[in-house]
Assembly symmetry: C2
Homo-oligomer: 416 residues x 2
């Protein structure tokens, strides 16, 4: 592909993570340095900001504020859940994108998100190519779910994993403090892939983790679960700590909360089922079976935006993913996603490579079944080896009066 | 009172905090230095460990491990919820305590807890005095609720407040990331006193806080609440973030979840109503009224054990509260609680004083009504001035492989 001269635009899509803004910092600081990039725009609310021509002039931001993005969670430009229809079905959005790109001479498009966002990159790329409009498009991966195909791991995962492991260690100390039984069920995000729930085994590895861990990779048997809990409390003075994924399903394919509560779940705008409540549902069930206190805890949004507990490795890799997206694009690469390739040497090291973006679009990488041991209730050392390097190092926003100083962008709108 | 020679025993009682073990570190390190203290014991599960004669020989612990207690949350010795019956009603426990204290020549008793624990100190103190057994008893305050009478604030509060403020700042960035409406209701601990919920105003002070804050000090009007939310979403693109206390009640004295769900709450062993679920109940109600996404988040146990986000001020004050309890006791003080007195100068400084423990027993200090403004939905600058110094400074456990290295006590049992 060509080494193009023109403006670049960057957008953030999908659910927040602690480090999505670190990738933004990487893209922006690198793009501002590149002589072939004539303007740097940030799209408000991802693809929606492009369609509505609402974007910010990043050259107006101070370098210091852009660097504060590295430790500011969520999406500073605003995010979106918007799935482009297939072009054969409806060309409207595609025409509009081409129109906007032409108007501002946008020749570089960077999109930060999960598999749905990579699908957007791929569709836009193919459309622009079909119209003969030259634009280099690079996807920057992001998801706490860690389920993107083709990359060793995803930016966002390491920080969420560090949150899950650290918080579970603290919770284990709290939930076992009394001299009587207590069952604690912690519900962790992850729709179809159990990577984040598996991170609770890092706490177990440190001697303060859950007794039982359930991932969505293995069909969940409610009766077996009750037996598993009974075995733990019988051996453990009535105490049991469980970590489980929001996405666990019965072998019939029903979400466990659905299976228990027989209630219909709402749908969100990508057509996924709206999850949540499985810990509550199972806690109610255990209360009926055992005469003991049962507490359900949902990590909820906290696990994906806890930048105060970010992994430095994750923050720096997310930043570099943004930097490398820009470097590859100006070298002429397009329709690709930045991927992390773990190097074979003993000391942890990754290299930033590229992969065709369509391979990531709508594919899901799951936890290998052979890593799930103890009859579906624990993770093997292979997982610890995999995940431990990803949570290393501490970093967070500078403190002002004891509280984080988040990035405050000026967000100067580009005149239409 | 006399300067006594004999053993000391320390116990932990009530719900965990991030810094209860820091007070333990203070008591232990100071007691081990005192020539008049002949042995240092830690009671397993508070008063229960004394009654059952289950306690640990603290001289067997390494000084390094004792210092790691400063950043290890929850209660390393185990905690308990056990309320002594009035002596007129049942003398059994008191006789047993006297017997155990005599057997081990225990002349110093330090008890770390909230108002129920101070009640225990007071009852044991009066009983031993009536039997002519000399023992100096000092209470060490502890509660994230900050509701103990007679002290400027309580150890445990500053760290929980820092957690609430920091986490709300992160949540505010997360919960407003999409270009569409979303109501987020965060439920915060605090039974009858709103101190911890009020800490959410520190996030607001930093520009990233909840739009509406409800404390239990003000009767909660469900219809007014719906109107308050409507006003915010009308002005704010459909977005609203609410922080409220688990303990809010209607003017009829019903907990809001009870009032809404008309369901009977369980009682816990102190006779308090088992709380929780108010955010869920209000979220359900708002979903019915407004066509928008509503999410309920409970900080649950996380807010009281998040030692990774502790306030250094709080950790150091908790430590010194333990140290001062020992120093006062060896000077002959008894039947008192350590209190914090804020000094009048501009720069924040406290002095460690004593107060008769009976003044703290079963009393509750609430947020002054004049600090609650905006028709019961916000806190005045007076609160910010009060709370901001308490969340200053960072401290946490050293990291090993990216995760906290918690204290691991040997817990060598004293032979019966």
């Amino acid at each position: 592909m060509k080494n193009l001269k023109g403006a670049c635009i960057f957008g953030q899509s999908g659910g927040p993570t602690s480090v999505i803004n670190s990738s933004a910092a990487g893209v922006f600081t690198e793009a501002l340095k590149q002589p072939n990039i004539t303007a740097v725009y940030g799209a408000a609310h991802g693809i929606k900001g492009i369609l509505e021509e609402t974007f910010y002039d990043i050259s107006q931001e101070s370098p210091e504020e852009l660097m504060l993005l590295k430790n500011t969670p969520s999406s500073a430009l605003g995010s979106v859940r918007y799935k482009l229809k297939p072009v054969e079905e409806d060309e409207t959005d595609y025409k509009r994108i081409l129109e906007v790109f032409k108007k501002y001479n946008i020749r570089y498009f960077f999109y930060n998100g999960g598999n749905d966002s990579m699908d957007t990159c791929n569709k836009v790329s193919k459309y622009l190519l079909s119209k003969g409009y030259e634009c280099n498009i690079i996807g920057v991966p992001k998801t706490i779910d860690n389920d993107l195909y083709g990359t060793d791991h995803c930016p966002g995962y390491g920080s969420a994993a560090k949150y899950v492991a650290t918080t579970l260690m603290e919770l284990c100390l709290d939930a076992t403090v009394y001299d009587k039984g207590q069952i604690t069920i912690v519900e962790i995000m992850g729709r179809n892939a159990g990577w984040l729930t598996a991170a609770s085994s890092l706490a177990y590895y440190k001697g303060l983790g859950p007794d039982l861990i359930y991932l969505p990779e293995i069909p969940f048997d409610i009766d077996k679960f009750v037996d598993d809990v009974k075995n733990v409390i019988d051996q453990n003075n009535g105490k049991c700590i469980v970590a489980l994924s929001e996405g666990i399903k019965t072998k019939e394919g029903l979400y466990v909360a659905e299976a228990i509560e027989q209630r219909k779940a709402e749908k969100d705008s990508f057509g996924h089922t709206q999850l949540g409540g499985v810990a509550d549902a199972l806690a109610d069930l255990l209360k009926q079976r055992f005469k003991t206190k049962v507490r359900a805890i949902e990590f909820s949004l906290l696990q994906r935006c806890a930048a105060h507990l970010a992994s430095k490795t994750d923050v720096e890799e997310a930043f570099m993913a943004g930097v490398m997206a820009v470097r590859y694009a100006v070298q002429g690469e397009t329709d690709k996603m930045v991927v992390f390739e773990r190097q074979p040497q003993k000391e942890y090291k990754i290299e930033y490579k590229l992969m065709p973006v369509e391979l990531a679009a709508n594919a899901e990488k799951k936890v290998p079944l052979e890593w799930i041991i103890n009859n579906g209730t624990a993770l093997s050392d292979k997982f610890i080896e995999y995940a431990l390097p990803l949570i290393q190092g501490d970093t967070k926003a500078p403190l002002e009066e004891g509280l984080p100083r988040m990035a405050k962008l000026k967000k100067v709108l580009v005149r239409k």
